[in-house]
């Protein structure tokens, strides 16, 4: 186990420089003393398991058959990467991520614009309301939307029967496209508030002076939006994008409740769950988990490097 060692020897502390005063040294020590436990716990509950998963992924290991555990090297990864199911689930996950995050960004921005100008009297009401989807348990929201659309308990078909393509007997969970539509809708409902709050905070930081100056120059609302507001809150937008994209890419609960992966609606996280928990193939499942972890890391690196998000700056590490 790696973690306990780390507690005892905080790694990156460079050997105390010769020029350091006792006070500095004491402060350093106190710093690690205070922050160390939290750091250690975080490593214990994530770094250790992921290393274990990497190790497990090199074996052919079924939970009910531990005696036949066998080292197979990287062949589990070969199996996964050459399997169309893996690529389908990557496709589904990316689709959900792109669609939900794009819609949420637009919707969340609109919400933020409304909220920042909102009358003082109703602002607390709106603020509380907007927090509710954020606070509701994902599984509960998934059940709620599923029941709304399902054939036996839902009301959507009878309410929206006048729309073309919707009839009393439209089975929303009977096809890939319609299932994914409902899944995305649920995700969007649940997480737009989070994005809108982040954007609201960014919006509040746009200097009023700039807006006024643009107004004096005769800029239209759109021009001000594109030239002043958005460039000035780029950091907030990027952080919101990054966090929501990573969150969306890990989608599991909603799919588990709504479709159980039927009709090719499996996300990558669900695929990992199916291999390890349902199929009991620890080796193969761990390999899927590791690949999911790598994908998430890749996305963050792309975001941070590609869009040059300085998290330490936006997150206030001054």
């Amino acid at each position: 186990m790696a973690a306990p060692t780390l507690t005892r020897d905080p790694p990156p502390t460079p050997a105390p420089g010769r020029g350091l005063s006792d006070r500095t040294r004491a402060e350093r020590r106190l710093g690690w003393l205070l922050a160390g436990p939290a750091f250690a716990v975080m490593l214990l509950v994530t770094a250790y398991p992921i290393l274990q998963a990497v190790y497990d992924s090199l074996f052919d290991f079924r939970l009910t058959d531990p005696t036949n555990r066998e080292f197979v090297g990287l062949s589990n990864y070969g199996v996964i990467l050459s399997d169309p199911i893996w690529w389908t689930s990557i496709g589904v996950t990316l689709l959900i991520t792109v669609v939900t995050v794009a819609v949420e960004l637009v919707l969340g921005f609109a919400l933020a614009l409304v909220m920042i100008k909102m009358l003082r009297a109703i602002r607390p009401v709106i603020r509380a309301a907007i927090l509710i989807p954020y606070a509701v348990i994902t599984v509960v929201s998934a059940f709620s939307w599923q029941y709304a659309f399902s054939l036996d308990s839902g009301f959507v078909n009878s309410w929206f029967g006048w729309l073309p393509g919707i009839a009393a007997d439209t089975d929303w969970f009977g096809g890939t496209a319609s299932s994914l539509f409902v899944v995305c809708l649920t995700e969007i409902w649940k997480t737009t508030p989070f994005i809108s709050l982040l954007l609201l905070a960014g919006l509040a930081q746009v200097p009023e002076v700039l807006q006024e100056a643009a107004k004096v120059d005769g800029a239209t609302w759109w021009q001000r939006m594109w030239k002043v507001t958005i460039p000035n809150m780029k950091a907030a937008i990027m952080v919101a994008l990054l966090f929501r994209s990573l969150d969306a890419f890990r989608i599991f609960d909603t799919i588990f409740v709504m479709t159980g992966g039927a009709n090719s609606t499996e996300s990558v996280a669900f695929l990992a769950y199916r291999q390890t928990i349902e199929r009991l193939e620890i080796g193969l499942g761990s390999a899927v988990s590791v690949l999911l972890f790598l994908s998430v890391t890749l996305i963050s690196v792309l975001f941070i490097k590609g869009f040059k998000i300085d998290l330490s700056q936006t997150r206030g590490d001054r």
Binding site: P11, T13, R28, Q52, I137, F155, F293
Partner: protein, 277 residues
């Protein structure tokens, strides 16, 4: 502001309320439908019936639901408390002390926050069954820290940076002891931030599903979201939509209450931790 504008704002507000509350209202409405009424194809029940609540509190599902509710509260509160205490120390160090590795701790927290839970659940399951933590409270509390600690550290360090720490020294100069200075000056300043952090951390723990279904198997530790999938109708072939809706409403009540009381703080906490100018 003109009257027309006011009306527009009210319309916008009504729209937002409709958007945010509609699915919640739907599950509440569903929970009051009797089993014969579930399939009525309407939003509202024909007759308001409390039978689903009776099922989960005193009926067949009570043995499943009540322990799960107790587990959810207990496990989430303990996980929240532990992560708040640990994060308090860490955030204090980050905000006040100068030591190398600050950035490492913050980036680790960030990395843990974006970690796919499903990736670590299998190794945890294997480890837990070896050390006997499978299906126990600590077996869930520890993994829950991976959900609650990162956000706690971020949010709290943001809060702690805002605290005018000079006041502590000023109080000491004025003759207060270190302890007095701490309790009388710093604690009141820090308490709101800690409290807000606790609420946000609690939301995250309360929301967990993957750990709940993978690391538990009985009423000894199974939390409510995981228990929802276990409800059953009169026979194993019948769907328990009504009781699930009722249980969903019950677990939503605590978070809604927290939101209603502390909405301003929660917003401050969420945005403070995430975006800092």
């Amino acid at each position: 502001m003109s009257r027309r504008e006011t009306i527009w704002w009210l319309v916008a507000a009504a729209g937002i309320l409709l958007y945010t509350l509609f699915p919640v209202a739907w599950i509440v409405s569903l929970s009051f439908k009797s089993s014969a009424d579930i399939a009525n194809g309407q939003f509202l029940p024909t007759v308001f019936a409390a039978e689903n609540y009776a099922t989960i509190f005193t009926g067949d599902a009570a043995e499943l639901f009540l322990p799960a509710l107790r587990n959810s509260f207990g496990i989430c509160l303990i996980a929240t408390a532990i992560s708040c205490v640990l994060a308090m120390f860490a955030a204090y160090a980050i905000a006040r002390l100068d030591f190398p590795g600050k950035k490492l701790i913050l980036s680790t927290a960030l990395a843990v926050a974006i970690f796919p839970v499903i990736s670590i659940v299998t190794p945890l399951f294997n480890l837990w069954r070896q050390v006997g933590l499978y299906d126990t409270w600590p077996g869930l509390i520890l993994p829950y820290l991976s959900l609650t600690l990162p956000i706690s550290i971020w949010t709290l360090s943001a809060f702690f940076r805002e605290i005018p720490w000079e006041m502590e020294e000023a109080a000491q100069v004025d003759g207060a002891t270190t302890w007095q200075a701490f309790t009388k000056v710093i604690v009141p300043l820090a308490a709101p931030g800690v409290f807000t952090t606790a609420i946000i951390a609690f939301f995250l723990a309360w929301n967990d599903f993957v750990y709940g279904i993978s690391l538990t198997s009985t009423g000894a530790s199974r939390p409510v979201p995981a228990a929802l999938g276990l409800f059953s109708g009169a026979s194993q072939f019948e769907s328990p939509n009504g009781p699930i809706a009722a249980a969903a409403v019950i677990v939503t009540i605590p978070v809604v209450v927290l939101v209603l009381i502390f909405q301003r703080r929660i917003v401050a906490g969420l945005t403070n931790g995430a975006v800092k100018g």
